[in-house]
Symmetry: C2
DNA sequence: GCCTGATTGAACACTTGTGTTCAGTTTCAG
DNA sequence: CTGAAACTGAACACAAGTGTTCAATCAGGC
């Protein structure tokens, strides 16, 4: 958190890679030191514990993605288009940065920050789309809808990581299916799910 | 596999419980022996390795559930009703046996037998429903549809395990949303998702 | 060029797990 | 009763990781 020095940054980046590739329980201090190109003692004097390191990495990732997606949404007002783009932005990023994808896929369900990233992203648009009549589901179903969306995105990321489908196919299929589930007409769902997808803005 | 003696059965059942509660990497031989009410040496002389034990437990679970769901489907011919029931049978079982639910939730994505259980269950009905015009999606989207279904079910199981929704709500919501995604009309989707759900047959 | 703080890496004492062996039981079918 | 098979549990020898300490070295700012 609160501004890392260069050594801490290297350790956090190394941790990100190792967590993504192996999962939390398979990363030890020695591996981490080597991956960061640093001595074992340096790791101990720069982190409190593996748990807090993991938490810091996960919440940094969640925050970063949340802000970039939000930035990309500045120009979009239609909740259905925002949802379709959000879904595809996540899936495309998993393709472009497979370590990011692997990290999200492994931990999105179990980590609070990452879960929050998914749900806060979608909840506002879901509610506004609901009250504007764009979607047709009951508001008691909100939690189920959120779950459907986040799990489908994770499943789709897995598909892309495994190379079973391209991010483009998997992304537009998922967006289309989700929109249809929410009550958007098939034709419109298809259209919204296949628009040109803008580049994910960087955080200047 | 191939018929377990009583001791092996106790070990496998204990392993199931521990894997469900803690995940594979947090189960050691001593814990397993104690949970099974057996000496450490007995465990070593009854299993080859943790990995093969896990594999055996997972594939047993997959096979058992697959057969019971199939048995329950004997009387149903409508692919959409079968799908709706399948989804809800999984979610209800996770509620009735939370260790089963936890096991499935933890390992369904990473274990081949469990993934196979999900997809083989759904693929046939998806294809028949597609050719009979009950569903409206492209057959190139089959993999995405399968992924949407299995991940939603897993997400829904998680919701139920965490106590955020009842199995009944979560199950019918998920079935309804999935059917709508596949092109079933909202009214019909709702109806199919809220029928009385038969008891899961036992394997005599 | 010197000072100071950061980094190095080896050494330490621990802890927890593994897989094996084996003499002393139980257990139960014949 | 009586074997044979299975189970017990303690004792080994390892392996791999943890977290700490500390003298030596490095590197950058003043």
């Amino acid at each position: 958190m609160e501004s890392l020095n260069p050594t801490q940054r290297r350790i956090h980046q190394a941790a990100f890679r190792l967590f993504a590739e192996r999962g939390t329980s398979q990363v030890n201090i020695l591996d981490l030191a080597q991956e960061a190109g640093v001595a074992r003692g340096t790791v101990y004097s720069n982190i409190d514990s593996m748990e807090s390191l993991f938490e810091a990495v996960a919440s940094h990732l969640a925050k970063e993605m949340h802000e970039r997606v939000n930035k990309s949404f500045n120009s979009l007002s239609d909740p259905a288009q925002r949802l379709a783009n959000g879904i595809r932005l996540f899936i495309r990023r998993a393709h472009e940065d497979s370590q990011w994808g692997a990290f999200i896929h492994k931990f999105a369900m179990s980590n609070a920050s990452l879960r929050e990233m998914f749900s806060s992203q979608a909840t506002t648009d879901l509610l506004s789309g609901l009250s504007s009549g764009r979607y047709t589901f009951e508001k008691e179903q909100l939690l189920s809808v959120l779950t459907l969306i986040s799990s489908s995105v994770l499943g789709s990321i897995f598909l892309v990581l495994e190379g079973h489908r391209t991010w483009r196919e998997s992304g537009s299929d998922t967006a289309e299916l989700v929109l249809r589930a929410l009550g958007v007409s098939p034709e419109e769902a298809r259209a919204l799910a296949t628009t040109e997808l803008p580049v994910l803005p960087s955080l200047d």
